[in-house]
């Protein structure tokens, strides 16, 4: 049945939220975008070591899903992890300083870009081995359930375990789906499906790429597919899904269709896609989309096409410009902070935190070079 031309659709879940909440989502996504742009610049200036995978284009996926769960729900992800860290509440300073390898970083400069850890914010790290975190997700979820069910502590939780579509083909992911289903572990696998595992499109590397639900069904796990380019849609669809899994203490599988505008890493010739394809996806940019709604620019046909909600148009152009300015300042400050922070002292740091207690069989550091501890000299 075709709805009457003026019939109002039931309000979306995100429409019922206060304007401040939705504005915060916009700010978080803009912060991630600006942070990543400055990260790329710093990397190109060789100020950031290691490898670097930026999140530009995918901002809505971390912001929308993390907004839908509680702060003490554990989060674990892969190596494209700066966005999750910031969305989880890590400061821009700690995140940037970590990439600079400075002692003020979230892991005191020992983890780097791929390993953002933030235990107070219940972020259990980025992971450099594709798919490896999926097993850990089962364990984190199992432990949260064990705490609640056996130790009678805390409340029901869900673990958010992010992975890229490339990880769909790793063996450990399938072991983990089976274990999660078997043990009723409340872990939600969120596939940030940007269509490419490094340089191989999902159709070229993954069976049933057009319908990932069959992979979840094979393990008896609930599945939803969501447009990952719209933070409101993500929240609307993911929140009830996660709430239900939390209540039933069951695993889930989410196919979030998103896109990365930049290469896989900072050294990607991108021969596998066209500029037109990238431009097409950028037309659906998640930040633009939400900004249009909040600013309610009447000359934008896309904004007009969506049923109005109380917070549409709640952001003034001046406030928006002020927000942009604050974000630029925040990231500039993070860079400045990272640059001015101390590098680790090798003598003090090299063997720190390898074990709980220092071990005896360590190669000497400075003394070795001077021969002071060499028994033959």
């Amino acid at each position: 049945m075709t709805p009457a031309p003026n019939a109002k659709a039931a309000p979306r879940l995100s429409d019922t939220l206060p304007a401040s909440t939705v504005t915060k989502w916009l700010r978080d996504m803009m912060l991630i975008r600006e942070f990543e742009l400055r990260t790329m610049a710093a990397y190109q200036q060789a100020k950031i070591g290691g490898f670097c995978h930026v999140y530009i284009g995918q901002e809505a996926t971390a912001v929308g899903t993390i907004a839908a769960v509680n702060h003490d729900d554990p989060v674990i992800t892969a190596y494209r992890d700066h966005g999750h860290a910031l969305a989880r509440g890590m400061s821009s300073r700690a995140c940037m300083a970590e990439m600079y390898g400075k002692t003020t970083g979230c892991a005191k400069g020992k983890g780097g870009s791929m390993h953002m850890f933030d235990k107070p914010n219940h972020l259990y790290g980025g992971h450099g081995i594709v798919g490896a975190q999926t097993g850990l997700g089962v364990g984190l979820a199992f432990a949260s359930r064990y705490e609640w069910e056996v130790l009678n502590k805390g409340s029901k939780k869900v673990c958010l375990c992010y992975l890229g579509d490339g990880a769909l083909n790793q063996g450990v992911f399938h072991e983990s789906l089976n274990l999660a289903g078997l043990y009723d572990a409340p872990v939600i696998y969120i596939v940030e499906n940007n269509g490419y595992s490094m340089g191989t499109s999902i159709e070229r590397g993954t069976t049933m790429a057009h319908d990932l639900s069959v992979k979840a069904a094979a393990y008896g796990i609930d599945f939803i597919e969501i447009d990952g380019m719209d933070v409101c849609t993500i929240y609307d669809r993911f929140k009830p899904f996660a709430d239900d899994l939390r209540e039933r203490q069951r695993p889930g599988f989410v196919d979030l269709k998103t896109y990365r505008y930049q290469g896989h890493s900072m050294s990607d010739p991108q021969k596998y896609r066209t500029k037109e394809e990238v431009a097409d996806w950028q037309q659906r940019d998640s930040i633009d989309r939400l900004a249009h709604l909040l600013l309610h620019r009447s000359d934008e046909p896309r904004a007009a096409a969506i049923a109005p909600s109380p917070w549409h148009g709640s952001l003034s152009e001046d406030a928006y410009k002020q927000m942009q300015k604050e974000i630029r300042e925040e990231v500039r400050d993070a860079i400045d902070f990272a640059e001015k922070s101390d590098s680790p002292d090798p003598a003090a740091e090299l063997y720190t935190d390898v074990y709980a207690n220092p071990q005896p069989n360590l190669s000497p550091l400075r003394e070795y070079h001077h021969g002071a501890k060499n028994p033959l000299l």
């Binding site: 850890f117 490896a132 984190l140 199992f142 705490e147 274990l179 069989n361």
Partner: protein, 324 residues
């Protein structure tokens, strides 16, 4: 005090630690209903329930990954891997993840994990069920590696491993699971990780071994001339290795033989020989001798005894070293 086999001592330690701390949980292939392939966890599921003694599918990477996640969240999981060869599928999780979180997170995320693994040859099993990969894990910063050779040590070392804040690989020499009994105190006690044991004191030569080969060393020593005084050291902890006990002994005796089942090249025997030449060079009266497995895939059972170091091979090396 009870007269227990190595298997019974491990079972007792597991039960007592589970009784003490409800964060200790077991998981692995057939560890529950069946009590494990070697019956090490027999009776524990009946006693502690299915939520604490968990039968897992045959998926080693998933088992260890799950256990790491549990440990991250504050539990003290003890996964069992049925045979040392099956560590292969879990290798990524152990070395790329469990071993590294303390460093990677600068101490904020730690992995109190004990991985129990039957190890070594001597039970007529094929390769992957008879290997000795301890050096691979000793070569992985962030891991601790232990291997008891007696029921008494097995209990004390296991309790230390479970309570240790870092991941420990607890190798169980399957050849001596039920080879002999020993008095094991009922009360809980710990044997510190990182301390070797002088099994027998001596003055003329230091014989160093670990795991099931310690028993071959004892047998070899019975057949040596009475006037040759050999000091036998059981390493007990493979890493962190007890440099002090090794070097004190070799400085005293000036001669050393190391015996182990692992292939000779890049084995822990090689590491011990290096430690000795670094610390005891001017005390040495003979080159350090190694009695190891061969640099080959562990042979099938007809050749197994040719591969493994035995009392006669060890005795021969001791005499060569003593008369150098």
């Amino acid at each position: 005090m009870a007269n227990l086999t190595l298997v019974q001592a491990i079972n007792l330690a597991l039960a007592q630690e589970m009784e003490l701390d409800d964060r200790v949980i077991l998981l692995g292939e057939d560890v529950g209903k069946n009590g494990g392939v070697f019956r090490v966890t027999e009776g524990l599921q009946a006693r502690f329930g299915e939520s604490r003694v968990i039968d897992s599918p045959l998926a080693e990477s998933g088992i260890i990954g799950t256990a790491i996640g549990m440990a991250m969240a504050g539990l003290r999981p003890i996964p069992e891997i049925q045979f040392e060869g099956f560590l292969g599928p879990a290798y990524d999780q152990i070395t790329n993840h469990a071993a590294r979180y303390r460093t990677r997170s600068r101490g904020s995320v730690t992995i109190p994990l004990t991985i129990r693994v039957p190890v070594g040859g001597g039970i007529h099993a094929p390769e992957l069920h008879s290997d000795s990969p301890e050096a691979i894990y000793a070569h992985t910063p962030g891991l601790k590696v232990v291997m008891p050779s007696s029921p008494y040590d097995a209990k004390g070392l296991l309790i230390s491993a479970i309570r240790d804040p870092d991941p420990v690989i607890y190798f169980e020499p399957k050849r001596i699971y039920r080879a002999f009994r020993e008095e094991v105190p009922e009360d809980e006690y710990t044997i510190p990780i990182g301390e070797a044991k002088v099994v027998e004191e001596g003055t003329d030569l230091t014989l160093i071994s670990w795991g099931a080969t310690v028993l071959q060393c004892v047998e070899a020593m019975d057949k040596l001339p009475d006037d040759l005084s050999v000091e036998l050291i059981d390493l007990r902890t493979i890493y962190p290795i007890d440099i002090d006990r090794i070097t004190e002994s070799v400085k005293k005796t000036g001669r050393c033989v190391v015996a182990c089942e692992a292939p000779k090249t890049a084995s822990m025997a090689a590491e011990i020989a290096t430690i000795i030449q670094e610390h005891c060079f001017l005390h040495l009266r003979a080159p350090v001798q190694r009695v190891c497995g061969f640099d080959t895939v562990m042979p099938y059972y007809k050749l197994e005894l040719d591969y493994l170091p035995d009392a006669s091979k060890i005795g021969e090396a001791v005499m060569q070293c003593a008369t150098y």
